[in-house]
């Protein structure tokens, strides 16, 4: 594979991640569970600690020096994270994770206080896909249950792609919102955002894109994507746990009612009733995820310095090698696209005759961390007739040698379980 860009100096990058020098069960750690959560470079660890140790205070609420420093840092983090995705400062809400971000949007529909575009009731439709993470499925199920709207979904092809043959029927005049994942967390599939957005525009549906797996792994420009909402989560993109984000096209947040009530999201509070602040504050009730936002901004700075196109290219190389390697192991079946075309770096597979739990546990004994289970996407497992899968997912700090270690490890696992 030829790269348009100079390749990453992965060894240098690895030195930034303390955990990568750990041993697990007597072997060097091979961390291939990045789609579940990523590790943090010292730059992020230091930003978090330095802020907490020397500049921390509550924000938006004081005139004293520390409170100003903390407010500055928090709002600068908002600018940085928004810019990382091609958005602007006041288009971005910090949440605790991507899940809260989806719930915030779903909670606005069918709410009497919301603008007209959020009206939803019996006869209306919400459309998702069969490859959604539970976090972009269950909130919509709950919404339909609450409002009487109908949930519909795109089925999947045998190759692990969205089956778009019924596009016009599934996204129709009754569709009020189309929510789908940018890059599937189990299948690794990268979905054709443009096709889906174009159809949504024809029928006037709002579009929420779940970018939990795209923000970490590819260059993203929310305005260019043309979606209305974009959610992502800090811990998968080198940031701390406890911070996620909701980006919204200008104007939408202001038409949405608050999801939670409390401090900071208000304008005038009387005992009997209150008025609410503008977005983004309206959606950040209570003390926000201050330190976590600062940490996430440091993560975005790190990724920007590396270059998201180089991250994507590097992962493309690893994914190609992984798919190739898996092909050499008899009895291994990849669930999801088996080429690098329009796919990310999360690769799910099953090993004939060995339960995914046992695959994962046995790999762990070799120091290799993969995730096993339904990956919060149980319907996908059902679709492909497996109770669970093992999933290897790489990130900027993984090496080709680690891919080889996994492939070799799988041979040993097979040997052990067929003994």
């Amino acid at each position: 594979m030829t790269l348009a860009l100079p390749a990453l100096d992965v060894q240098a990058l690895r030195a930034d991640f303390p955990v990568l020098s750990r041993e697990v069960n007597g072997h060097p750690l091979v961390y291939l569970d990045n789609a579940s959560s990523s590790h943090k470079p010292v730059q992020v660890l230091d930003a978090v600690r330095d802020f907490d140790a020397h500049h921390y205070s509550n924000v938006h609420r004081g005139v004293h020096t520390l409170s100003q420093e903390a407010t500055d840092a928090y709002e600068a983090a908002r600018t940085t994270v928004a810019a990382f995705l091609g958005g602007r400062h006041d288009e971005l809400v910090f949440t605790k994770n991507a899940t809260e971000a989806v719930n915030t949007v779903a909670g606005s529909f069918g709410n009497a206080r919301a603008g007209e575009r959020f009206a939803l009731g019996p006869g209306d439709e919400v459309c998702v896909t069969e490859m959604e993470h539970h976090s972009n499925l269950v909130p919509w199920q709950m919404l339909c249950e609450r409002t009487g709207a109908t949930l519909r979904w795109f089925p999947l092809t045998d190759e692990g792609r969205l089956d778009l043959s019924e596009l016009d029927a599934l996204v129709n005049e009754r569709t009020k919102v189309l929510a789908f994942v940018h890059q599937g967390n189990l299948l690794g599939t990268v979905n054709p955002v443009d096709v889906l957005v174009a159809r949504a525009r024809e029928v006037g549906a709002l579009v929420l894109l779940d970018g939990s797996q795209s923000a970490p792994h590819m260059p993203v420009d929310v305005h260019a994507l043309g979606v209305d909402f974009y959610v992502a989560t800090g811990h998968k993109m080198l940031g701390p746990s406890g911070v996620g984000l909701l980006w919204a096209r200008p104007g939408l947040l202001d038409a949405m009612p608050p999801f939670m009530g409390g401090g900071s999201m208000i304008e005038v509070v009387q005992m009997a009733s209150s008025t609410y602040a503008k977005a983004p504050e309206r959606f950040e009730a209570g003390t926000p995820v201050i330190t976590q936002a600062v940490g996430l901004a440091a993560a975005c700075d790190y990724l920007t310095a590396v270059g998201m196109d180089r991250v994507a290219a590097h992962e493309g190389v690893l994914t190609a090698r992984l798919l190739e390697g898996l092909r050499t192991v008899q009895g291994v079946r990849v669930i999801g696209p088996d080429t690098t075309e329009a796919r990310g770096s999360a690769v799910s597979f099953v090993v004939e005759g060995v339960h995914p739990h046992d695959v994962g546990q046995s790999l762990d004994e070799l120091g290799i961390a993969v995730r096993v289970g339904h990956h919060c996407a149980a319907p996908v497992c059902r679709r492909y007739g497996v109770p669970a899968t093992a999933r290897a997912s790489t990130y900027l700090y993984n090496t080709e040698a680690e891919i080889d270690a996994l492939v070799e490890g799988l041979e040993r696992v097979k040997a052990f379980w067929s003994a």
Binding site: H355, P356, Q361, E365, H374, A378, P387, A388, F416
Partner: protein, 153 residues
Amino acid sequence: MTGTDSLYQEIILDHYKNPHHKGLRDPYDVEVHHVNPTCGDEVTLRVQVRDGVVQDVSYDGQGCSISQASTSVMTDLVIGQPVPQALGRAEAFLALMQSRGTLEPDEDVLEDGIAFAGVSRYPARVKCALLGWMAWKDATAQAVGPSTTEETA
């Protein structure tokens, strides 16, 4: 990948590869279906109780080595036992699983079940080891409970 420290004791591997009492059998009083939502493992299990004794336990299902082997061991431990004794063994196994490696299992009570002591150090696998046991407890409670006759199949 085995060894005294490993999760995968020989006993466990033996039961996994050659499970005891597997396959659904008649007659039975109660049949239950249990699922481990975190991994999709499932078991269908039948219980027959006569005169206060666990007459038969039969099952089918899919799951990892731990859940399969544990269910196999369970059938050895409860079939032929008076219900109170069998429940006592279930409690002993549950206590072992929740011990996070701190309990010394009693071989007289748990027999092959002692091979699972190490599993308690792997919280993610404890649920696997308990799947069959929980299904059995559920089915047995239904079989001996006041509403037995209505609920049996």
